[in-house]
């Protein structure tokens, strides 16, 4: 623990409170590495196409601010902002941020929660998935299409249809679990309990995995997984779903 901490930059919608709560909680449990968290906010209150466009226009400023802080890894933590702008958009977004950073001589690694969710599903070898989103149906449909375009079959999904982003941050876990229970999980490899970094779900991941008997991930656990992989740390965090136990050497009996 004597090493210099890994500085994690979070680019978050201004109304988001969950990323800055869940990400430190998860990564504090990562053995052998200390993390510090630094965020920059893009103004966004309602999850609508107009506000998402306006928010994406603020990305460069956020990258500049976090670049100044000399972070080691940067997570663009708004999944729907990327997934609603076009299929495969996380690659362009990550590339754009990386270009901006590398031009200025920063060696910070770049991740997005959209890309991290895809990487998490790939790491679990998922083919058929189910998911719960807080979004309005049209946006949720875009997220489903996006994930399917990345090569996964979305067998079933629920949209909780909460437009106000602050309210998304207050969705009770019981409502998320109820939505998950209503899914048809037959033949599903992986359940995405929350395809949104604002919908609180960290405490639900392990519970859901135990209840449904299949790997469960959230945008947050997938983000944590990608951060650990990117900095070359081992992925061994118990109690947050099997994705975060990827490098666990011995499974406790």
């Amino acid at each position: 623990m004597s090493k210099t901490p890994v500085r994690v930059g979070l680019i978050v919608p201004s109304s988001n409170v969950t990323v800055e709560t869940e990400m430190p909680r998860i990564l504090a449990r990562a053995p052998g590495t200390e993390f510090t968290f630094h965020s920059s906010r893009m103004r966004m209150k309602a999850v609508s196409p107009e506000q998402i466009r306006a928010m994406n226009a603020q990305r460069e400023r956020c990258v500049m601010e976090l670049g100044d802080a000399g972070v080691d890894v940067m997570l663009y933590a708004c999944l729907v902002a990327i997934m609603s702008t076009g299929l495969g958009a996380h690659r362009d977004a990550e590339m754009g941020v990386a270009e901006q950073l590398s031009l200025g001589g920063s060696e910070a690694k770049v991740l997005s929660s959209a890309g991290a969710l895809i990487s998490g599903l790939q790491a679990l070898g998922a083919r058929r998935i189910a998911l719960v989103t807080p979004y309005m149906r049209p946006l949720a449909q875009q997220v489903v299409d996006y994930i399917e375009a990345e090569g996964f079959e979305v067998a079933d999904w629920r949209a909780l249809e909460v437009a106000d982003n602050a309210e998304v941050g207050r969705i009770p876990g019981e409502r998320v679990m109820a939505a998950a229970r209503s899914l048809d999980l037959a033949g599903v490899d992986v359940l995405v309990i929350s395809a949104c970094v604002q919908m609180p779900s960290l405490d639900l991941v392990q519970t859901a995995e135990d209840e449904f008997g299949i790997p469960v991930i959230s945008a947050a656990t997938a983000g944590a997984y990608s951060i650990l992989r990117t900095i070359g740390a081992s992925v061994d965090i118990p109690g947050a779903g099997s994705l975060l136990l990827a490098d666990a050497s011995v499974v406790a009996s």
Partner: protein, 226 residues
């Protein structure tokens, strides 16, 4: 239907032209007027960044104009940075040369942008002539016609069209010229005279292979390899 099992090897020469050529500017407004408003090259990309590495350069904007064919010319504008060198000397925003540098040398480094025909060349001539940066020179070379001007940063820009396609014998001649050049360039006192003498030897050496290739209607490519 093609045989799907046939593996077509990738070509040896795989690059696809200019991604972007980048230059510094101290006059972003003039640069945008010249490229976007006068030449009407669309702005296609921009990046706002700072100097985070050991270089610690100032905050800067990197912006791009489409020069056709998905190729781009790009500029860096650094906030608060002052031009380097003696601004009354020949040169451009990237560098100033000695006062006695002849113009041919100053202009030797330039960017030439391709157009397909005379109509298009004249269209760009008109756009420039109606602006603060009129065409300085219109030249008919052997096989190309070009117009030239300098952008607000002092960079020479050429717009050029081919008068006819390049022939296989010109490719052969170019290959012979370059082989002759490298033969004499590392020797004593390279000169045009020595080059033409060496070229005559190579012309005779390679004539037979060329004629054989022509008879077999083969591409002249094997002839080009010494």
């Amino acid at each position: 239907m093609t045989d799907e099992l046939e593996i077509v090897p990738k070509a040896d020469h795989r690059v696809m032209g200019v991604d972007h050529a980048a230059f510094p500017t101290f006059d972003p407004a003039g640069t945008v007027r010249f490229y976007r408003d006068v030449l009407r090259f669309p702005v296609v990309h921009s990046i706002c960044a700072a100097g985070w590495g050991p270089d610690k350069h100032p905050d800067f904007i990197h912006f791009f104009f489409d020069i056709g064919n998905d190729d781009r010319i790009a500029f860096f504008y650094y906030f608060g940075l002052k031009p380097y060198g003696d601004q009354t000397a020949p040169g451009d925003s990237w560098a100033r040369l000695d006062h006695d540098t002849p113009q041919f040398f100053t202009n030797s480094r330039h960017l030439a942008i391709h157009v397909v025909d005379e109509e298009d060349l004249l269209e760009y001539r008109k756009r420039l002539d109606d602006s603060e940066w009129p065409v300085e020179m219109q030249v008919m070379h052997e096989t190309i016609e070009s117009i030239y001007t300098h952008d607000p940063n002092g960079y020479m820009i050429e717009i050029t069209r081919a008068l006819r396609p390049v022939t296989p014998q010109e490719d052969l001649d170019a290959a012979i010229t370059i082989d002759a050049l490298i033969d004499i360039a590392e020797g004593e006192d390279p000169s045009m005279d020595k080059l033409l003498e060496r070229k005559a030897q190579l012309i005779v050496e390679r004539a037979e292979a060329w004629e054989r290739a022509q008879q077999h209607e083969l591409a002249p490519e094997p002839v080009l390899v010494p």
